[in-house]
Symmetry: C2
């Protein structure tokens, strides 16, 4: 990697585009991660090209997002109707598209391949080998972790994914974990070489996710009115994809045991099964809390901050999270978080400092914690202050600086492999 | 392709090795096809390298089968326990191995990539594009054909395979069909360009599969005794993988309606479900014919000819066959074939000339046809003569000559694409 210019990064995100709206389908924290990391890298002089599978004929083949960031939509399979389980069969087509793009460049164009999720890792493995550049991989989620903490009724990840992940771990010159917990999982469950793991906490967009100004009751009432939310009810916000992994059903069931006036706002769309939202609504009906659950489709990121600010508590009952971006963003907005004590959430949420951690997913336990916190204005104010302070740990500029260092180390390490 | 030497062919057979024993697991007619075609091509001066996924630590990375034929076992995923459904996830690893092998050669080593089955087509598509050489593809089986004629209880092929097949059809410079029926399916079901389809009937090893000498009753008795088969019973032979697609259950059920002395010999092992053979035996028990069904594991090809010779009739009740190698081999041994009137079997078996075609898979209809044929020595003798004559249509040398012509045409066509 020459010192006179920033590195040229081939960023691979096969199955979900950084230009997609997060909070529905396959688009979640990873999309935000890829785009925000790329932005911060570009600010530091890197040239980032993000390769993602084309999923609509309306997408131009190349989108110049901003100076230093280009998104390339690679045709590989039909735009719509391709099941996620059928994506592995499209990796040859996708990889061919990536290699083709490089072939139009002068030789040795890219300095590093950074892949996200195992599918991209498979494609990037081949590309990095052909180009003789380091492969840097971020898992985001791991089949073995997910399968060990499966939500009741959820389907285990197939063995083919486990095998694919093992290969990518073995082939990577550097593995990026968001938290220490993720690094430990990589070593324990995938036999990763500790020397090649780098913990780089992802950032939170601290310009977008800020505490409310002014923060008085009048401003908050106006905000809730603007969002169409009940002004006087205690509000619990769930923001994320509606799928078993994220545990929204735990909150619906907990609501039954919370005071009548408490409302749950579900901000997100179906993922996995297209009927996921309707199933959640049916569960609410069954629990007798249907009129206390407000479902709203996901919103743009710059509007999302207002939803965090409008809530009394943001709940993150996921069965697993490698980081838990929603928790970090909510904290940056000064809203206390109640989160499951799993994965990266244990790094983001410090119990009784900037939020509360709950063991397990028993709706009664969640109702206890949520009820107590909603009833205690003083404690919420203390945790809100802690949340704002803690969020300063997570900045994308710091993340990008650390990532450039990872790229440099991987480049140095590569000849020795 | 230079005229002074034979072409260098990269032959891709991802999911099944030509060195495997056919008749069990995933090994069937395609294995024979790849190996025999390669042999015949080598005899005509081609240099063939067959790439297949390594499935055992006992396999050497490179096996020089004979001058002009080399088998390369490419590591891609675990040796054992990889489900066929998880193979698409290994295509990047496999393709990387193929590209790596080429990188060790002098530039422009291979003249053509010939792929077998859609998985290989996906890998070969990428390789041919990188090397800028023509892609020649043989489908062997097609998801849309299989799904249209699904055996009762069999599972449809996934959409991901259909999509993958469509891509390979579109990307191929030449498509090789074994029969006119297969060519029609390619056009009708996959929108293939007729100009790029070449019908090349596969060969039968006419040195191995020959009529019995001597062919008198004494020799036949000795042969049956040697194979451990009943000497005096009318014998129906089923040779092939025990799986619903191949329809052995039809024969077991037909046996119930055939004279008491008729025996069914099932020569083959389980495919798909490991319990397939036991399930067939259970069905026989249920039909009250368990002691009339003899199950024997698949045998080497040079011994297989004796089994064809020992039978009175060879039955091929498949729900689909792109060619039907078993029928052609049995005919070469002078044994009449009773086959389902599907796919390539309609090319190989000429009704009442060298065998009998049966519409559908009704066990009663099969019992009628088989019973009548077993009772009519004169007709069997006439069909046996027809079978021997017809088998001369299928020679591997002719197939190899035709294939070299396909390679040459694909090479000429390529720049125009």
């Amino acid at each position: 990697m020459p010192g006179t210019r920033g590195p040229r990064v081939a960023m691979l995100s096969v199955h979900t585009s950084p230009l997609d709206q997060p909070g529905t389908g396959d688009a979640g924290g990873m999309n935000v991660y890829v785009l925000e990391l790329s932005r911060a890298l570009a600010r530091r002089g890197a040239e980032v090209e993000i390769f993602t599978r084309a999923t609509s004929s309306a997408q131009p083949p190349v989108v110049d997002v901003q100076p230093g960031i280009r998104v390339l939509h690679v045709p590989a399979g039909p735009f719509e109707g391709l099941d996620k389980n059928d994506l592995p069969g499209q990796l040859c087509a996708f990889t061919a598209g990536v290699l083709r793009a490089e072939a139009h460049r002068s030789e040795g164009w890219y300095d590093v391949v950074h892949t996200h999720y195992w599918l991209s890792g498979q494609a990037g493995w081949l590309a990095a080998e052909r180009w003789d550049v380091p492969l840097v991989h971020t898992m985001h989620t791991m089949a073995r972790v997910k399968n060990a903490a499966l939500a009741p009724g959820d389907v285990p990840e197939p063995q083919g994914r486990v095998i694919g992940e093992e290969q990518v771990v073995a082939a990577s010159d550097a593995l990026v974990a968001s938290t220490r917990e993720e690094a430990e999982d990589l070593v324990r469950l995938y036999g990763a070489d500790l020397d090649r793991i780098h913990v780089v906490p992802p950032g939170v967009d601290l310009d977008t996710f800020t505490p409310p100004v002014p923060s008085d009751a009048t401003a908050r009432t106006a905000l809730r009115e603007r969002l169409g939310l009940p002004v006087d009810s205690p509000l619990i916000l769930f923001a994320g994809r509606v799928q078993l992994l994220k545990g929204p059903d735990v909150l619906v069931q907990a609501l039954e045991h919370l005071p009548e006036e408490v409302r749950l706002v579900v901000l997100g769309g179906a993922s996995g099964r297209p009927t996921a939202v309707r199933e959640l609504e049916a569960l609410a009906h069954q629990c007798g809390v249907r009129d206390r659950v407000l479902v709203h489709p996901p919103v743009e990121r710059r509007r999302l901050a207002d939803w965090y600010r409008a809530a009394d508590v943001v709940a993150v009952p996921s069965h697993n999270e490698s980081f838990g971006l929603v928790a970090a963003e909510a904290q940056a907005c000064g809203t206390p978080v109640v989160a499951a004590a799993v994965g990266g959430l244990r790094t983001v949420v410090l119990d009784d400092v900037n939020g509360v951690l709950v063991d397990g997913h028993d709706p009664l336990a969640w109702a206890d914690v949520l009820g107590a916190l909603l009833a205690d204005d003083g404690r919420r104010a203390r945790l809100a202050a802690g949340a704002r302070a803690a969020s300063r740990r997570f900045g994308w500029d710091e993340a990008a600086a650390a990532m450039l260092d990872v790229y440099a180390q991987a480049t140095k390490r590569r000849p020795a492999r």
